[in-house]
Symmetry: C2
Subunit: 417 residues, 2 copies
Amino acid sequence: MKYLDLFPKTIKQAPAGAESTNHRLLVRGGFIDQLMAGSWTLLPLGYKVVSKIVQIIREEMDATGAQEMLMPLLHPKEVWERSGRWNKTDVKEIMYQFEDIRGREVGLAITHEEIVMDLLGKHVSSYKDLPVKVYHFSTKFRNELRARSGILRGREFMMKDLYSAHVSEEELFKYYEEVKQAYLKIFQRIGLEVRVVEASGGIFTDKYTHEFQALVESGEDIIYYCQSCDFARNKEIFNGKEGDKCPQCRGVIKAANSIEVGNIFPLGTKYSKDMKVFYKDEKGQDKPIWFASYGIGPTRVMGALVEVFHDEKGIIWPESVAPYQVHLVGLDLSETQIRIKAEDIYNRLQTAGVEVLYDDRADVTAGEKFADADLLGVPYRVVVSKKTEDKLEVKKRNRAEVEFLSYDELLGKLKTT
Amino acid sequence: MKYLDLFPKTIKQAPAGAESTNHRLLVRGGFIDQLMAGSWTLLPLGYKVVSKIVQIIREEMDATGAQEMLMPLLHPKEVWERSGRWNKTDVKEIMYQFEDIRGREVGLAITHEEIVMDLLGKHVSSYKDLPVKVYHFSTKFRNELRARSGILRGREFMMKDLYSAHVSEEELFKYYEEVKQAYLKIFQRIGLEVRVVEASGGIFTDKYTHEFQALVESGEDIIYYCQSCDFARNKEIFNGKEGDKCPQCRGVIKAANSIEVGNIFPLGTKYSKDMKVFYKDEKGQDKPIWFASYGIGPTRVMGALVEVFHDEKGIIWPESVAPYQVHLVGLDLSETQIRIKAEDIYNRLQTAGVEVLYDDRADVTAGEKFADADLLGVPYRVVVSKKTEDKLEVKKRNRAEVEFLSYDELLGKLKTT
């Protein structure tokens, strides 16, 4: 992609009222644009990052044997009444519910347990039809009282939600554990360090659930975790304070701010019983379906990454989700020789399968170009200029040193990372 | 994918009230599931087909230099008031408009011209920032009075919409023509024969626009076209009848039923002027932006394909969008030797990169398996049974003949198609 073709360009001024780092940097970099409070367009650069996060999640979901599909966003009241959630106060507070012109009451998707259960009711009759593991990437709407923290807490956002249905508690927890490991692998591939934290089930279940929390100083959540073992609890269910002894291993409890980037809910048989969706066992008897749901918000993950990986100059994307691998900066482009060389490097890198953003502006200073490269946070900055002669000036975004490499040396470096 | 793992299984009975072929066959095959009138879940098989359609569209959009992004679905009233469309009767009839709990009026996306214009207003200042070509795949909501024709006319459906912004009418029509050609290439790759038809602009523009119409007997639209040249008009703007002389070449006009699978709108400067979004030209003067939009509904395309490609037994998918390339049918699977051979063929095909659906059911008759294969419409049916010995029985879905091939012969056949 040539910078002159990229829509939109970077913005020098931070947006008014941007309190959080992800809001400030993602807007300035042209990754996202605010339509209204809590509602964002993923601009081409932001869409690229989110697509890479989505693809990593997809691969790990498929590896668990889950199947991708796509469910509707407008939900009929009747389906939500079957679970008893339509009229729950804490659901009504966040679900957009309204009448269509024919007087039919509908709600916008806050989550999809009811819709999956409805599907299971239509398509599962016997134990032979289980397990079912289905997921989708789609929009969720939540009428948050105060949308804030940039793209971290929106009224409309992208979610991957997986649902699994099983014949028994044992089968459910076997798969639940498999998904927990898949989630850890996802966050490892994305480059985000997380803790698995026990939490309350909120509007989903009375049981404890698990959150995946990224430790970030700017995070709105508070978790208590043990420094010696895997004990970790969300503030809401931890009765204690920093410095207490770990109830599991007697180690020392620490408190930390964090951002929730995923959650998994072992919902048990509640939805099956409430919605009267059963399967027939080997003896032909009706049995409740064991059910669980598992969420990750790709747009929220992008925001969390920026909160973790940035410096005063801009974003520092992990390589696995960076919008481009190389930010090629052409300097002295008014000189034909240099321009030809820069274009040549651009074309050769692209042909080699490297994703390149090429700053082809001729009327901008080196300082401005470097500032934009730092803001956008692409892992490798490669400069072609009079000074670089037959070499390329290569700098990693997260390092201070500059190296002078030949094209082949650069390519070798890129291929091994 | 093993059939025993696939969610859901095929259904023997056509759904009640299914008037159209796509409704009947897609539901019976487990491609889609109806949540409410006009609202469908794309089940794993249906999602696979739509994903392939999406990928073809994406490649051809990218080839025109367009950039993918993702815009929100909840739109603030204020942005739609700027174009004057919020209160238009024909918009109000199909747009879900409601108040959120804070009394803010919002509407669900019926299209995105206003949102793109709002983006251009924020990010385009000079002629140097143009052209802009951006698109997304996302959900559209239309409160159709009568949702019908299966997945062809939904209240919620997937749409690819591209928007382009230019400095002049000339530039706009140059790109408009490029997109028209890209659309023709898309439908050619998908395997759908279309006519480019002049039509009225509806709620979009007062000017004529172009529809891409697939000629199908079951189609709800009627078009008049010339058998000797490219003249073609939608019923609404054609003042004539079948048998008339073509106003362009004096050939004979024919009438035909059709399904609209795409449309392109040269919107001109209307939105720019109405919403007061201008660019500065070389002299620093404000000029209106030339604007166009271009839509294809991937879910509707899937429905249209079924209307065109089916027989009394089921669907006949074009190879480019089929959910799998091979439907491997194992017969006599109670015999260990045969089961081992079938599994081996399944694994080898998958390793070779062939997408295979393997019917691994042991308790089902050959007749039932063949009926399901015909219903699902995968291009190649490959049978492993006692009878096939060291060969494979290969039949194309759209042919009657059966061939006996070795594994290598089959693979060669698949790779060349």
